[in-house]
């Protein structure tokens, strides 16, 4: 936490990989200043190529969305709603005129590292694995670019990197800086976050801290502050969870994400039934006409 200096979990060395400790990210938009240092640090450390410079016209966000070459993405929300009890708009200074409420929310989005990960279940090569710290990792040298993880992620995180970028053809997403973690370092995005809006640490500690923070914010007038951590759906919780103001839809987050493996039973039943029906129909057709 900010103020803890070198004792903050974002700054001190750790042995989480060696001790098989489940880790996570807690991202808090109420202290984010939208500096995008996380995006930059991620690109720098992981040598993620640039995927074009486009002007989106959507607030200060020209990154757009997570993808094969964007593993951290700072969202810029402009909402006609007040942010907590703060004074908004110069014309409302000195009186109680609140008819121009406006709030600007920044949130650094990232791979959620699901408890039940759609991409991991879907991967036919075994390229996507679960690490000792509970994160989901793509092994680039194994991935053959079949693209099935892309349609299996309920959060639209992972994507196949197109030509002519370096290492094109494979699927890419946030690695949770597994290489840094193995050496006792904190993921690059959390390490550089100047306001500790991104906090890295033990999953259970972070969950407790996030719940407390949401309560605290609601007491301070942020009455729509809530935790985004879908533990009650088939995803069964995420390792990178968020505190959000308002509804998840506004952040492009699915309200009730489901891991696609829950659809397997009904789909395979239909497939087996059709296979058997086709064989029987064919045999009957031949039996009747001979």
């Amino acid at each position: 936490m900010i103020g803890e200096g070198t004792h903050s979990t974002n700054q001190r060395r750790h042995n989480y990989v060696q001790e098989n400790v489940e880790v996570g990210f807690f991202t808090d938009p109420t202290v984010c200043i939208g500096c995008k240092a996380c995006e930059v640090a991620c690109k720098e450390w992981n040598e993620v190529p640039d995927d074009g410079f486009t002007w989106s016209g959507n607030s200060y966000d020209n990154t757009g969305h997570l993808g094969a070459s964007t593993w951290r993405h700072v969202l810029f929300l402009e909402q006609d709603r007040q942010k907590g009890s703060q004074v908004v708009g110069s014309h409302s200074l000195g009186n109680d005129d609140r008819d121009d409420p406006f709030r600007w929310v920044f949130l650094s989005d990232v791979c959620k590292h699901c408890e039940e990960a759609g991409c991991l279940e879907a991967c036919p090569t075994g390229s996507i694995v679960r690490t000792e710290v509970g994160s989901v990792l793509v092994q680039d040298d194994v991935c053959n670019g079949c693209g099935y993880c892309v349609v299996s992620c309920p959060f639209g995180v992972i994507d196949r990197r197109p030509e002519p970028l370096p290492n094109a053809g494979g699927a890419f997403k946030c690695t949770f800086c597994y290489d840094r973690q193995k050496s006792g370092l904190v993921p690059a995005c959390a390490k550089v976050c100047p306001t500790e809006s991104i906090v890295f640490g033990r999953l259970d500690d972070l969950r407790a801290r996030a719940t407390q923070r949401a309560q605290e914010l609601r007491q301070h007038g942020y009455d729509d502050a809530q935790l985004y951590d879908p533990t009650d759906t088939s995803v069964r919780g995420i390792h990178a969870f968020f505190l959000i103001l308002g509804e998840p839809e506004a952040y492009g987050l699915p309200p009730r994400p489901q891991v696609p493996t829950i659809y397997l039973k009904s789909a395979w039943t239909a497939a087996f039934a059709t296979a058997i029906a086709s064989i029987i129909a064919t045999l009957v057709a031949f039996a009747f006409s001979s």
């Binding site: 959507n58 607030s59 966000d61 757009g64 969305h65 402009e78 909402q79 014309h91 009186n95 005129d97 121009d100 279940e121 879907a122 991967c123 036919p124 090569t125 075994g126 194994v142 053959n144 670019g145 079949c146 693209g147 099935y148 892309v150 349609v151 299996s152 992620c153 639209g156 992972i158 990197r161 094109a168 053809g169 494979g170 839809e249 506004a250 492009g252 987050l253 699915p254 309200p255 009730r256 493996t261 659809y263 397997l264 009904s266 789909a267 039943t269 239909a270 497939a271 087996f272 059709t274 296979a275 086709s278 129909a281 064919t282 045999l283 057709a285 031949f286 009747f288 006409s289 001979s290």
Partner: protein, 327 residues
């Protein structure tokens, strides 16, 4: 103190920009206001649309056709239609053991690593199961074809020839079992994903893909000159099931969640395909225009496969579809 007039003017401009797309005026050129009015986060997709290109619908078409050809080959073997059996096994081997793997490998981001598909066996991944089903199908169809042809041309004498005939039978049986799965698993493949228009129809898709495969196999064999009543009956069966599926698809609508099928151009491909291999093929066959019915069915089977992939791209890029499917 009221809100400044400039603020109100700005609101008017935003409204005008939203309605007309652009505002021209004194020093102002705005294409949309800063308050987002698009669904979700500036209308950005919530899930990722499929990255698959034209190879995949073609593979669905040829894989289904090949798999069900092997089923017809098994029936032909059991009911002693020797010429039909040979033609069906040829079809299964060419479309299923050569064309299908080539199309799949072409679609990979890294084709040279295609063998990694057989690195693990994951029953919870339809893509992994499909790779193994296709491999098993090829392993049965190709040796089956070789044994069958050696037997048909009486290359070896006596016992060895009998052995070949027996081996061919075993291979054709195996190819039929894996073939029936090859034709249907593709429906599971796209049905068990995060794409709303696909997973909402996860029971319809395997039925459609499998039956379209069966009808296509019968249609190609008929066009190759095997005009026997059994294939005609199979044609009737497939076209009837497809007609029922067309009705099911038109009745079981899911509102905004699967609007890609009902309100978008991509959905027309699905429906046109279903009409071609459903009612139209049925009517043509009923009036005895068998070759035309076969061609109509094949065209429908191909167009609807292209349509389903196109629908997935539209649905995956539509944030409102994802939200609607979860509410």
């Amino acid at each position: 103190m009221n809100a400044p007039a400039s603020e109100k003017r700005l609101e008017q401009l935003r409204e005008k920009a939203w309605q007309e797309g652009v505002v021209t005026g004194r020093g102002v050129d705005v294409a949309g206001g800063p308050i987002p009015r698009k669904p979700g986060y500036y209308g950005e997709p919530v899930v990722k649309p499929p990255v698959w290109t034209w190879e995949i619908p073609l593979y669905f078409f040829f894989g289904g056709l090949a798999g069900m050809s092997a089923v017809i080959a098994l029936a032909a073997l059991l009911f002693h239609h020797v010429d039909l059996e040979r033609a069906a096994v040829w079809l299964a081997a060419i479309a299923g053991a050569i064309l299908s793997p080539v199309l799949l490998i072409m679609d990979l981001g890294r084709p040279h690593l295609f063998l990694n598909m057989l690195r693990v066996f994951k029953h919870r991944s339809p893509m992994s199961m499909g790779a193994w089903i296709l491999a098993a199908f090829g392993t049965c169809a190709v040796p089956g074809l070789i044994a069958l042809e050696l037997h048909a041309h009486q290359i070896f004498p006596g016992t060895l020839d009998q052995l070949l005939s027996f081996a061919a039978g075993i291979c054709v049986f195996g190819a039929a079992i894996f073939g029936a799965l090859l034709a249907t698993y593709t429906g599971v493949l796209i049905g068990a994903t995060a794409i709303p228009a696909w997973f909402l129809h996860r029971t319809l898709l395997p039925i459609h893909f499998g039956t379209a495969g069966l009808g296509s196999a019968a249609a190609v064999l008929e066009l190759l000159g095997h005009r026997i009543p059994a294939l005609n009956l199979i044609g009737f069966y497939a076209a009837t099931v497809e007609t029922a599926l067309l009705i099911w698809l038109s009745v079981a609508k899911h509102g905004a969640a699967d609007r890609a099928i009902h309100e978008h151009g991509a959905g027309w491909l699905v429906r046109i395909g279903e009409v071609l291999n459903g009612p139209l093929a049925l009517v043509l066959r009923f009036f005895g225009f068998i070759p035309w019915a076969a061609i109509s069915f094949l065209a429908g089977a191909l167009v609807s496969r292209i349509g389903w992939i196109a629908v997935g791209k539209v649905s995956g890029a539509d944030p409102e579809a994802v939200f609607a499917s979860q509410r």
